[in-house]
Subunit: 203 residues, 2 copies
DNA sequence: CGCGACGTTGATTTGCCTCAACGATTGTGG
DNA sequence: CCACAATCGTTGAGGCAAATCAACGTCGCG
């Protein structure tokens, strides 16, 4: 199983923002990663089954979701250069509550929890990567939580439009609705209302 | 400024679950922590001001909250043995969106971000503590998010009753309501409904 | 071409909010 | 230790934003 060079370069760039590694250390790190390709709407894993790897997204888009009363609700979206894992298995506390599937065709690089733990042993400074990853995941959850706590459906959508245009452009509308915690019909009405009352600069 | 021995012992116990330190290393770690006492309803910091420390709760209970349209909405509750910090300042991205205040009289041990960064340099294995703390904060946010995404007001309350009885017993009802994202009146009605239809074992 | 998934629009329902009033409890100063 | 005010929880009535149910046009894909 070979890994595309460009994919590895993206991965290295992402890690290099956090720690510096020499050639020997890079060899150690990179040996553990292996590729996974997903086609649009193909699942990585489903809710209830364990997630045993951390993923780096080289390209494409995935979403986490759970099923309630037969309909899907989206948790988060991830794009190229994002990291994702479901921490429930890692922390050993529970089976996953979210499933993950591809929204677009995807290329991922995975490292198993077992190998990651090994890496932490071999290269203690790699702990820093784990910490920064967890902290930034935490940060994005916090931001989302603020929106949940404070904003109405319309405000949430405007917020998303402003801060994450990627999502609006690349994700089907019904998934955006389920991410915002509203029904597709409601989002459709919100969009109509917004387009009738466009943004007026300096009004 | 002296730190009570029992307080230090709790802190050491919490860290010892993650890494082993020798006497010399403990000296390095402990020198950075300093105590803070809060009286019931006293703020640690308010939304918009920076948070420059990580806190370990020795005793008592604090909550995070934000203000929307003049009324307070609770983000999370923390109890003895919990860790808390607002990551927005740490990550250098924004001023705090949540304020923190004491729900009960509290004793905290704080370490400044500056000293924590210093500690990471001096004792690289302490990165592991930072990682585990971020991971477990992330985990509890995930759990809360699942509730937000999946449960009605009544289900959320029952969930809380089952998984975090601490909150029900030690926190005023209107704060619980604001944590669940509902109004005090609604929580009151939910409680009445539940007490009229008590849990029936194996029914 | 025809089917299924997607987005839109309308009519109706509903869970929760809002506003208002009222006991119960707490805590504070005389 | 009591009187009083303030805070807290409860209950009722009415309103609203979003859900639900239903129908329909459009697009993409096999």
């Amino acid at each position: 199983m070979t890994v595309r060079t460009e994919a590895t370069d993206l991965l290295k760039a992402s890690i290099s923002k956090i720690i510096d590694l020499n050639d020997q250390e890079w060899k150690v790190v990179l040996q553990y990663f292996f590729p996974l390709r997903l086609k649009k709407r193909e699942p990585w894993f489903t809710a209830g089954s364990p997630c045993n790897e951390v993923a780096f997204l080289v390209s494409g888009c995935v979403r986490t979701y759970l099923v309630k009363d037969g309909n899907e609700r989206t948790g988060q979206f991830f794009f190229e250069n994002d990291w994702y894992t479901d921490y429930s298995t890692w922390l050993g506390k529970a089976p996953t509550t979210f499933g993950v599937e591809a929204v677009e065709n995807c290329e991922l690089l995975l490292i198993s929890f077992r190998d990651l733990e090994r890496l932490y042993q071999q290269l203690p400074k790699f702990e820093r990567v784990g910490r920064v990853m967890a902290e930034s995941a935490l940060w994005s959850l916090c931001l989302q939580k603020v929106t949940y706590m404070r904003d109405s459906a319309e405000e949430s959508y405007l917020q998303l439009l402003e801060t994450r245009p990627n999502v609006i452009e690349r994700v089907p509308q019904h998934m955006i609705a389920s991410y915002l915690g509203i029904e597709p019909e409601t989002l459709s009405r919100v969009r109509r209302k917004i387009s009738q009352q466009p943004y007026i600069a300096n009004a």
